[in-house]
């Protein structure tokens, strides 16, 4: 008798919860049975770098299927990957521009240190201590956090205390851009050859005190540029990528070599 009660009680409980869940699953059903999703996932690099703007590779695959993103938006994949994805979708791919990151600093080991830092070998940790050990409050600390986060081993630490980007390996995922506590990296197309290798907003006299490679805001580049692509704002030259045609005239005229070539 008692075993019957036990079986009936548990059975009733199970049936009750089962019915509730069946109802809920009808209400909360998710429809995605698109086989192309799995195919695209198989092609993607799987680095989940997020450079495309979607939440990881799966988010990208979904967005591509919905037509929200172009297959071209994937920064980490090779050209062949993008072409295959476009083929799955039955689309044709426009010619895309290869992008890379550049470092906006030429200080490195030449810039003196304000104090002896002996903490964790990580730029983010160093910045938490009075903004880092370097005299230049805007420049590279050189502890190489960008080297550790790069999923493609494209960044290595140079002898000059600055990270060196291998533009052939760089897939422009932007991990170093977001991890650098001094925000010294920026993404650009490889056609865009020149960039200002300084981010310091101090006045020229102060900058000269700690760094020989800093932009001293002399405005020679601004005057030389025929296309109006360079402006000096807040003691720093800024290049407008839309106007610049990489004629290299500003590079030659810069007295401190603060405008660098990719």
């Amino acid at each position: 008798m008692s075993i019957l009660v036990a079986v009936l009680t548990l059975g009733a409980l199970g049936a009750l919860f089962g019915a509730g869940l069946a109802f809920a699953s009808r209400k909360l059903a998710v429809h995605n049975t698109d086989l192309r999703l799995e195919k695209i996932m198989g092609l993607l690099p799987g680095a989940n770098c997020g450079a495309c703007g979607a939440a990881g590779c799966f988010g990208f695959a979904e967005a591509v299927l919905k037509g929200e993103l172009s297959p071209d938006a994937c920064r980490a994949g090779d050209e062949s990957v993008k072409r295959e994805i476009a083929a799955i979708l039955g689309k044709k791919l426009d010619k895309s521009l290869k992008r890379t990151v550049v470092l906006h600093c030429r200080g490195g080991a030449k810039v003196a240190e304000r104090y002896i830092y002996s903490g964790l070998k990580d730029c983010r940790a160093a910045v938490a201590l009075l903004g880092g050990p370097k005299e230049c409050p805007y420049g590279c600390i050189g502890l190489g956090t960008c080297v550790t986060v790069c999923p493609f081993s494209a960044i290595s630490m140079g002898k000059d205390g600055l990270p060196c980007v291998d533009k052939n390996k760089c897939r422009a995922c932007g991990k170093c851009v977001s991890v650098c506590p001094k925000h010294l990296f920026s993404l650009r197309t490889q056609e865009q050859k020149v960039f200002v290798a300084c981010r310091s907003l101090d006045t020229a006299a102060v900058k000269r005190g700690y760094c020989q490679s800093a932009c001293i805001a002399c405005r020679r580049c601004e005057k030389t540029c025929k296309y109006g692509a360079i402006k000096v704002e807040n003691n720093l030259a800024v290049i407008d990528c839309a106007k610049c045609i990489s004629c290299m005239e500003c590079v030659e005229v810069c007295p401190v070599k603060a405008i660098a070539v990719l």
């Binding site: 009680t9 548990l10 409980l13 869940l21 809920a24 909360l28 998710v30 990881g56 799966f58 070998k121």
Partner: protein
């Protein structure tokens, strides 16, 4: 039922017998989803919801079904049934409304079912607030309140752990103890400090 009881439950389930750091329940999700703060918070809220729901439902099941039919020995299996249903519900909701989070949780979301923290609270409620097969006065409220407080305790432990592990990312941990081993060392150190709330006995 007075304010003192609530305060005692509050303090004891958050600090003195913190579900993770003193009772050592629910360690699986604690170690797995505590690498970053955001997913840790999301996991905590899922567990919180399941604990509160299940402590209410298990009280009803225990009081109106298991005790009258003299089936207290079916406690574990029927509680697991309740918890599994709650988890299924949470899983459906997360999958529908937060697909990115759903993929981040992976296997750990259905594993809340066997998260012993959830079953632990349900069993603890029936042990603490029932006496000789009779519910103590106010035991339903106490059960739910204990569920809420254990949920807060779980969230606290998850937040502390994820904050520490986020900082740990900065340091170059030796290869052999990277990721999980160092997390276990950290967890045991945290647990030692929570043991301090119990006081010392010589």
């Amino acid at each position: 039922m007075n304010a003192g009881h609530f305060l005692a439950i509050f303090i004891s389930s958050i600090f003195v017998s913190n579900v993770i750091l003193s009772r050592f329940l629910g360690l699986c999700s604690f170690i797995a989803i505590s690498k970053e703060t955001r997913p840790a918070l999301a996991m905590s809220s899922a567990v919180f919801f399941v604990i509160v729901m299940s402590s209410a439902i298990t009280w009803v099941v225990y009081n109106y079904l298991l005790i009258p039919f003299d089936l207290a020995y079916l406690r574990t299996i029927s509680f697991i049934l309740v918890i599994a249903s709650c988890v299924q519900l949470v899983e459906m909701v997360v999958r529908k409304f937060m697909p990115a989070l759903y993929r981040m949780f992976g296997i750990y979301l259905p594993l809340i079912t066997v998260n012993c923290a959830v079953l632990g609270v349900a069993v603890l409620n029936t042990d603490m607030f029932f006496s000789k097969g009779k519910p103590l006065p106010g035991s339903f409220i106490f059960s739910i309140f204990q569920g809420v407080c254990v949920g807060i305790g779980y969230t606290l432990a998850m937040l502390l752990m994820s904050a520490i592990r986020e900082r740990l990312e900065y340091s170059r941990v030796p290869e052999a103890v990277r990721e999980f081993p160092i997390a276990f060392v950290t967890a045991s150190l945290m647990s030692l400090s929570f043991m301090g709330f119990n006081g010392f006995r010589f």
